[in-house]
């Protein structure tokens, strides 16, 4: 097992910034990125989307965001349907896009799953790493949290 470098974590912070900049012309700001501390859990908001990672890597990428942020994003996308289904779909698609974009750096051997979504937190613990990378994101007035729990498997 080997760790991700600071440059590789930046791949994810750049992907978050690019996503919002591209779709809304207003980039998301990264408020902080840190290694999870023992006994602490990253913030969880109304909706979470998770991508499982396999191949030469193992773990997951999880984005958790508040309902108001996802609704605002749908407005920016001219999407009038703000049903529960579409809110969950959007947070899953966002997680999928961030993980997919990371393959520009990690290559095709970082295999990614289809998104799974949850209202709030995912049940149970799935941590691949002892201490996960936590990236706090701000877009407009909303805070969201991206948790990168990936390590190389060879």
């Amino acid at each position: 097992m080997s760790d991700l470098s600071e440059t590789e974590i930046k791949v994810f912070t750049d992907a978050v910034s690019h996503y919002f900049s591209q779709l809304t012309r207003e980039p998301a700001a990264v408020r902080g990125a840190y290694l999870e501390r023992e006994g602490e859990t990253p913030p969880v908001y109304d909706y979470s989307g998770r991508i499982l990672v396999g191949g030469q890597f193992r773990g997951s990428v999880t984005l958790s965001a508040p309902r108001a942020m996802i609704r605002h994003l749908l407005v920016a996308l001219h999407e009038p349907d703000q049903s529960e289904e579409n809110l969950r779909d959007t947070v899953g698609e966002l997680a999928n896009t961030l993980a997919g974009n990371a393959r520009r750096h990690f290559g095709e051997h970082m295999e990614i799953s289809v998104p799974i979504t949850a209202a709030g937190a995912f049940p149970g613990s799935l941590a691949a790493r002892d201490r996960r990378y936590v990236i706090m994101v701000n877009w407009k007035t909303y805070n969201a949290c991206l948790v990168v729990d990936i390590e190389r498997s060879n």
């Binding site: 899953g92 997919g100 974009n101 289809v114």
Partner: protein
């Protein structure tokens, strides 16, 4: 022009459907929206589309195998891959399997219009 939209995200399918009505594009008739590769292949068989927008990461049957099966059914089918998978190898493989274009997510309305115009060039 008969269009089939294939993506496991409902929001993305709706967004592509809206952008496909853009005045800069030839008139398009959306013949179906599929949530996975299996549905997509069935819809190609049923509706004989001219153009498909195709996600790659989907449940049941992924986009690469789906491309092969759709091309086997209709060799003249035009396929625009719309995917977040941003490594070069994936894009090259999709093109080799028969797709005509590749658009990375996240995409703007203008980028999708331009990509559709490009793959529809005679």
């Amino acid at each position: 022009m008969k269009l089939l939209i294939v993506d496991d995200s409902n929001v993305i399918r709706q967004r592509i459907a809206r952008i496909a009505s853009d005045a800069r594009l030839p008139p398009m008739h959306i013949v179906g929206q599929a949530r996975n590769g299996v549905e997509a292949v069935q819809m190609v068989r049923q509706h004989d589309p001219d153009l498909v927008t195709l996600d790659l990461t989907m449940p049941e049957l992924g986009g690469e195998e789906c491309t092969e099966q759709m091309i086997a059914l209709k060799p003249a089918l035009t396929i625009l891959v719309v995917s977040a998978l941003s490594d070069k190898a994936t894009a090259l493989r999709a093109l080799k399997k028969g797709a005509q274009g590749f658009l990375y997510k996240p995409f703007t309305d203008d980028q999708l219009v331009a990509a559709l115009q490009e793959v529809m060039l005679p």
